[in-house]
Amino acid sequence: MSAEPNPPMARSKKRQPRDDEPRRPRGRRAPIVELNDVTKVYAGGHMALDRVSLAIGRGEFVFLVGPTGCGKSTLIKMLIRELATTEGTVKIAGRDIGALPEKKIPQLRRNIGTVFQDFKLLPDRTVYDNVAYALQVIGASRAEIREQVPQTLRLVGLSTKLHSYPDQLSGGEQQRVSIARAFVNHPPLLLADEPSGNLDPVTSIGVMQLLYRINKTGTTVLVVTHDREMVDNMQRRVVELYEGRVVRDEVSGGYTEESTTEFGLRMRAEMGVGHQGEGQSNGHGQDALI
C-alpha cells in the first residue's frame, strides 16, 4: 500500500499554478476541506446545518465541538457524501464532491478515513478482517494486508484481539478497531466522530494520543468531541457549532511547533509511553507512524 494519496487528492496536487496566479509557498494548496454556506435540512424539515462555512488546511488538527444535536455528525456525513447538502458546496482537496459522479464516491471515501460515532464495524468479521477490509476495497495485495493490518492494530493496542469478533469487544476496543480501519490505508484526511465518546478518561487520552500521532504523520485530522478538558489541554483549532451554526472558530490557541511537542510529551508522560515516533514528524513522513 503506497502512502501516496489517490485521486481526487492527487489531481489537485498535480495542478500547476498559472503565471498570473500568485505563487503560494509549498504546502499551501487548496484547503483539504472547504465548506461554503452549507445548509442541511432533513426530510422532516429539521435544519441540522445552517450556512456553515469552514476551511481546514492540510496537516491541521481541528476539534469540532458543540452540544448534542447541533449538527456535528451531520457535518461529518457530508464530508464523505453519506449525505448530500441541501444548499452550499463541500470541497475536498479543491473538488466539489456534490458534483462527483456516483462512480467516484468510493474513491473519495478511500481517501478519507472515518471513525464513525457508532463504529460501524462488520459484525461477521474478526478485528483483523474488519481492518483488512479497508485495504481489500482498494485492491491491496495479500502481502500488503499481512504487513499493514497487524502493524496498525499494534498501534491502537489491539494486537491480542486479532481474532475476536466485534461483539466480543468492549466499546473502547471497538472504537479502536474503527480507528485502525480508518487509518490503515494512510488516508490524507481522518474524520473521527466522538472517538472517545464512550470511553473512560484513560482510554480516551489514549485515543487522543493516537490521533495526535496520526496527525504528526501529515494526516489532516478532524475530531468531534465533547471532552472540554481535552480540547482545552490540546490547544488546537476549535470549531464550535450551536444549532447548526458555527459560533466559534479559534484558528489557533497558540498553535505552534513548541506546543505540539509539549503536548506530545505530556501525552506520553500520561500514558507512560516512550519517545517513539518523535522527530520523524515532518508532515510528510507517512511511514513514520509505523
Binding site: 464523505i80 453519506e82 462512480k103 468510493p106 474513491q107 473519495l108 471515501r109 478511500r110 472515518t114 464513525f116 460501524k120 464495524l121 462488520l122 459484525p123 461477521d124 477490509y133 479497508a134 481489500q136 476495497v137 482498494i138 485492491g139 495485495s141 495479500r142 480501519r181
Partner: protein
C-alpha cells in the same frame, strides 16, 4: 484472479456466518424445484392426453347413394375450402362396412353379413377440424340455414351429418377448460416459485443491509460488494438445484419407471411429451439464475448509500 479468490472466500464466509438463512434459501430452492419437477410432467401429460382426445373428435357427412363421381370430387374440394377444416377423407360404402366389421369383431360380423344381402351403409366424408372447438362452426358451414329458415346443405348430394354430437361437444368443452386451468396453474406455480425463492434471498440479504451500508461507507464499489452476494446466489441455486434433481431422479427410477410398465398413463409421459434430461437442465439453470439475479436485484436497494 486473486480478486476472484477473494470474492469466493467472501461468499463462503457469508454462507457460513449466515448458516440459517442460507439453509432456508437452499431448502426453498429444493422444495420449489422438486414441486415443479413433479407437477410440470403431470400437467404436460394431462395436456397431451386432452389434446389427443380432442384430435380424435370429428364428424361425418353422409352422402346420398346416387351421388356421381364428379359431384363427390367437387364436394370434397368445397369441404376442404371451409375454414378450420384440417382434413377431409372419403369413406366409401365398402370401407364403411369394413370398418364396422372391424369394430364388431369376427363372430358378430359373420352374423351381420349373413343377415344382410346388401351394404346398408352410406358413403361419407370424414371431417377432422384443426381444433375440436371449431366443430360446430364447420358443421354450420356445411349445412347453413337457408332463406326459408330450414337447413340447406351446400350440396344436393349431402344427406345428413352424423356423429355423437352431444358427446363430442362435451368433450371439447371439458378439455378446453382443462387446458386453461392447467396453463393457469402452471403459470401461477412458476410465479409462486420465483417469488418464494427471491423472497428468501431478499430476507437473507435484508438482515445484512447494515453490513452493505458499512462497506459502502469505507469505500467499497458496488460491484465489489455485489460479486460475493452473486456468488452466494450461484452457490445456493446450484446446491438447491442439485439436491432437488437428485430427489427427482431417485423418484423417477424408484417410483415412476416401475409403475409406467403397469400404467400407460405414466408411460406416455416417458416417451412422448416429457424429456426428463431437458426438464432437469431447464429447472437447474432456472434455480441458479433466479437465485443469482435475485441476489443482485435485492442488493440494489441497499447499495444506494
Amino acid at each position: 484472479m486473486s480478486r476472484l479468490i477473494f470474492f469466493l472466500q467472501e461468499a463462503i464466509r457469508a454462507l457460513r456466518r449466515n448458516a440459517a438463512p442460507s439453509l432456508a434459501a437452499i431448502i426453498t430452492t429444493v422444495v420449489t424445484v422438486v414441486l415443479l419437477g413433479v407437477l410440470i410432467p403431470i400437467f404436460q401429460t394431462a395436456q397431451a392426453k386432452s389434446d389427443q382426445v380432442r384430435g380424435e373428435l370429428n364428424f361425418q357427412v353422409a352422402l346420398y347413394a346416387d351421388a356421381t363421381h364428379a359431384e363427390i370430387v367437387s364436394l370434397e374440394k368445397e369441404l376442404k375450402a371451409i375454414p378450420h377444416v384440417d382434413s377431409v377423407e372419403l369413406i366409401t360404402k365398402s370401407q364403411a362396412l369394413k370398418e364396422l366389421k372391424e369394430t364388431l369383431g369376427a363372430d358378430k360380423s359373420k352374423e351381420l353379413t349373413s343377415q344382410l344381402n346388401e351394404n346398408p351403409l352410406p358413403a361419407s366424408f370424414k371431417i377432422i377440424p384443426d381444433d375440436a372447438a371449431n366443430l360446430a362452426g364447420i358443421r354450420a358451414a356445411i349445412i347453413p340455414t337457408g332463406p326459408n329458415g330450414k337447413p340447406q346443405p351446400i350440396s344436393s348430394i349431402i344427406d345428413k351429418i352424423f356423429d355423437r354430437q352431444d358427446e363430442s361437444s362435451k368433450i371439447a368443452q371439458v378439455t378446453s377448460a382443462l387446458k386453461i386451468v392447467l396453463t393457469v396453474i402452471t403459470v401461477l406455480l412458476i410465479l409462486a416459485s420465483l417469488m418464494l425463492v427471491s423472497n428468501t434471498i431478499r430476507l437473507s440479504i435484508y438482515t445484512r443491509r447494515r453490513e452493505v451500508e458499512v462497506m459502502r461507507l469505507v469505500g467499497a464499489t458496488r460491484w465489489f460488494i455485489r460479486w460475493p452476494f452473486m456468488i452466494e446466489g450461484v452457490v445456493v441455486g446450484f446446491t438447491g438445484g442439485l439436491v432437488a434433481i437428485l430427489i427427482l431422479w431417485l423418484g423417477k427410477i424408484t417410483i415412476v419407471d416401475p409403475l409406467s410398465n403397469t400404467f400407460s398413463f405414466l408411460a406416455a409421459q416417458n416417451n412422448s411429451t416429457l424429456n426428463f434430461p431437458a426438464m432437469i437442465a431447464i429447472l437447474f439453470a432456472a434455480a441458479v439464475l433466479v437465485s443469482t439475479i435475485g441476489s443482485g436485484v435485492t442488493l440494489r436497494r441497499f447499495l444506494k448509500v
